[in-house]
Symmetry: C2
Subunit: 572 residues, 2 copies
């Protein structure tokens, strides 16, 4: 069955090339319509390719004749050419979907009908300063002025900061069909790859994108410090938006996460997308595999779209000279866990996407640590471009999200915790989030703190309290994470009150209790738990025990044998 279907691809750039990689592995012939020796053609040796442009009607017709299904790696194709051949060959997604999506105004008008939340927009019909000023009064400033068509990678967009920018904005986008969009005050840009098959709409997990110079710079997968609820909400929104269009294949859906944690749509691409490149390494099926399967009606197990590990994708962008991006590629060879993809586009122009690097790791923080030197170099290469005036986009919170939270009922518990905190930091290199969260004085804050801990990336909580010690148990009641309780010895009852208050929890809400005042054991328990999934930490736990053994056997033991117990005791 695989030897039969031939897939036609409009466009043979990097997206087409990575699609051909997937086709090659399934022994599916991909016929590419693009210039001779386009990136996608270089890795597909057969005589079924078509030389020409995906905007030429005759070339599209020629391609259609040789294929069973035609798809596109770019939305700026001639949809009238596709409509022409639609009776002869399957087109996925449909030419109607591509036509609606390639006009951003029509795309949004269409999605609005399906109840997709997005920033307000207004059509310009006269493209006059007066008209835009009027719209500015309605939507407020700043606002985005956008070309309806042929807009991609920031081209065709102009951010109008105030009324004064109006003439420049209209000049920059003159002779184009325009609309204006209310400014989205977002705290993060999210994206979801959606795969529409003949009978379902699937999605990959939500990723975080960082844009620079209006093109994608970084993709963090999954999105960092975003709760499971927001991940699900963004996926559901993306699937709903894609379901509004006809046809099969992968769609890239870009969204904004607003300050109030609501998610609105930014825009849709009717194709495989830069925000999905990480799926090559992160998932059993990449977006390219899924697109191919979707348009050929081959099965896609939903489980194959889950992430194996966190990953970060960094684009390699053309710099000041035709080969400056290769410096970054060369540096990437030494980055642990980095997989390199160069697109073989030849000499680079500044700002052109020349390749990308994906780093996977057991934790997002590890991936961040590995990739940071490469981001620094990419920023340096960018700084040498004469066409760039703005500083580099920040890659966001690169401080490690702590995996351990330490809560104490009162600052008087801190001195008890210090030996454990020091052990965690100095010996294990683990920096926990440390907070005062009293179950009695700040019960609501404590509850929220515990309830949101898992979403913040916390894996284990230590909670210390004394007397009628409620904090560990209450924290455990608000989270699904393991909570380690440290009973702090108070002024009366020798700490037995704290111990029993912490350990004797009712069935259903466990607290992992350690000995009275024994924060060292709490810290070691944290290390043992993390160590079950992180061999480096487990080895440190083993080394800690080994050191204790050596001290007892080889130092204290030898000394006592040498000195005798009486002298030893004198010296104690």
């Amino acid at each position: 069955m695989w030897n039969s279907p031939k897939v036609g691809i409009l466009g043979g750039g990097q997206l087409g090339r990575m699609l051909v990689e997937s086709a090659n592995r399934l022994n599916i012939q991909a016929n590419v319509l693009d210039a001779e020796n386009a990136p996608a053609k270089q890795i597909s040796a057969h005589d079924g390719h078509v030389n020409g442009s995906f905007k030429e009607r005759e070339a599209v017709r020629q391609l259609a004749k040789t294929c069973d299904v035609v798809t596109a790696e770019i939305e700026h194709v001639d949809t009238y050419a596709l409509e022409d051949v639609a009776s002869e060959v399957k087109i996925e997604p449909s030419w109607q979907a591509i036509r609606t999506i390639q006009n951003k105004f029509n795309q949004k008008e269409h999605l609005r009908k399906y109840g997709i939340p997005m920033a307000e927009h207004r059509e310009l019909v006269k493209n006059t300063p007066e008209e835009l000023a009027e719209i500015g009064k309605e939507l407020g400033f700043p606002l985005m002025l956008k070309s309806k068509t042929m807009a991609y990678d920031g081209r065709g967009n102009y951010s109008v900061k105030s009324k004064e920018d109006i003439p420049d904005a209209l000049e920059a986008l003159k002779d184009r069909p325009l609309f204006a969009e209310k400014w989205a005050q977002f705290k993060m840009e999210l994206a979801v790859m959606v795969v529409k098959t003949k009978d379902e709409v699937l999605s990959y997990p939500t990723v975080e994108t960082v844009q620079e110079d209006s093109i994608c710079k970084l993709v963090y997968a999954p999105a960092r410090n975003v709760s499971e609820a927001i991940n699900q909400k963004a996926q559901a929104l993306a699937r709903k938006a894609v379901a509004a269009f006809d046809g099969k294949g992968a769609f890239g859906v870009e969204m904004f996460l607003l300050e109030d944690d609501s998610v609105i749509l930014c825009e849709i691409a009717s194709r495989i997308h830069n925000s999905g490149h990480c799926t090559i390494e992160a998932c059993p099926l990449s977006q390219f595999d899924s697109h191919l399967r979707a348009i050929l009606d081959l099965p896609i197990p939903a489980k194959s779209l889950e992430f194996r590990q966190p990953s970060i994708m960094l684009n390699l962008i053309g710099g000041a000279t035709p080969d400056s991006h290769l410096k970054a590629a060369e540096r990437a060879l030494s980055i642990p866990n980095a997989s390199i993809h160069l697109y073989s586009k030849g000499a680079a122009r500044p700002g052109r996407k020349m390749g990308h690097v994906t780093v996977t790791a057991a934790t997002m923080h590890e991936a961040e640590t590995h990739i940071q030197p490469l981001i620094d170099l990419v920023d340096e290469i960018r700084s040498q471009r004469s066409d760039i005036k703005t500083p580099a986009a920040k890659s966001g919170p690169s401080k490690p999200a702590p995996s351990v939270a330490v809560m104490m009922g009162s600052d008087s518990d801190l001195k008890t915790l210090v030996p454990g905190l020091k052990l965690l930091k100095d010996y294990f290199g683990i920096e926990p989030a440390v907070d005062i969260t009293s179950a009695h004085r700040t019960p609501t804050f404590m509850a929220e703190y515990a309830a949101s801990a898992a979403a913040r990336g916390i894996k284990v909580i230590i909670a210390a309290a004394g007397g009628a010690a409620h904090l560990p148990g209450m924290a455990a009641a608000h989270t699904a994470l393991p909570v380690i309780g440290v009973p702090v010895k108070g002024s009366s009852l020798d700490g037995v009150d704290s111990l029993h208050s912490i350990v004797q929890m009712p069935r259903g809400v466990p607290v992992a209790t350690v000995g009275i005042n024994n924060s060292v054991n709490a810290a070691l328990l944290v290390a043992r738990i993390l160590g079950s999934y992180d061999p480096a930490i487990q080895r440190k736990v083993e080394a800690y025990a080994e050191k204790a053994k050596t001290e007892n056997l080889d130092q204290k033991g030898v000394k006592m044998r040498e000195l005798g117990w009486e002298k030893y005791f004198e010296q104690m």
Copy 2:
């Protein structure tokens, strides 16, 4: 720098093809010497390929002229042709290494000098029944009779069960240079991919291989139920063996794990190898990436050779008809987490490698579960071959390795543990290993049990004990894993003795203590710990809390409001 080096590859089969995939991603031109339209050439469109055979001297010379480095995807190349061109082009690994390795007798004689452990062998010089009978007396029966040269995928090997087989064996391998090898009574076949660079010898983790009809059927990565010590031992042996040869690149090292846990060498391949295919999905750098980097003196971060997740590779072998293997490929499309690689070799011959499938998953057991239907189908396809008489190779222990161990000091503690065990099994679907391991009656067994737990894949231990309850603390003293202690209420002191014996551990050895007799909380603590790394389990912990909340609010609460407390109490 990437645009310059050209790599020549002797052989354009599936190994060459996957090597070209890696070259494509680095925009390195690979010139392939093989028949026109060989699998590797199909994904590399340029005019630098050479049509011909890697055994023709003239063709090798022609290839060498166009390249900076020449390598081979097969060891049965004409090393004299390589020697011829060695002054004009770099050859990696060296022709000397390939020449020694392609003769299995010379390979072993060479490795013996370097102290590599392997099965005893004897050279045949006359190939007579008398000579082999004499050798049989020395080595014992069964023994393996092997051709020194041109032996691969079982061709050139004959297992001589007893003296009576001698005439048939010599007939089967007549006119070939022979040697005999002592039978290795192994419990598992292991393999390690080694990468030799200009200044170091790196290795991937140890995998387990299952052979069928003398060719590789399955690869489990990492090897199942093998301790970290054996993993390290096998890697060290493999690196030492490869270090004995000259030149750079990937080498496949096959080994036997014997009953006494010693590891001996089986054989080396001077190339990328079937046992390393899983690295495409399982590692940031595949064996093909690493080979390419090694021969081009590009950096290889050691961390990039670690496994992201466990994986299983299954070969798709030609069956009774030219397309019967495609049935398996088609089935693989529906297997969760399966990545499919078809080699585009055209029509299949029975027994020919036509493709492979790799399944990755969070745990080996999950991967085993996903791939089983595909193994069953592959076995069925094989059973239809007329050239096959033997039953399918067993894929070995498919029982899941438990991630939780439950230890009790005495069977009298079992009834206390039952509610927790039931919760783990019935609600969370977690089947722990459950054992009686008394700290007082079986102290040595207990110590070994705890000490080996991590190597057996255990992530958390529950230990229950009563009275002078030493088991949890002693178990914790012998392992780096988190140990959860359940104090069991004895006949006196109301369980306070057990509680204090378990919780009041000295600094340095923590026990996560739960309430007296509260095995339910111990089970929930296990789920919380595993859940920190397994979202499916964490969701179940959340659902458990949600259920408890609903019961209290919506059922008991409503009932008490409706009935009033007096009636409610009557009905209790």
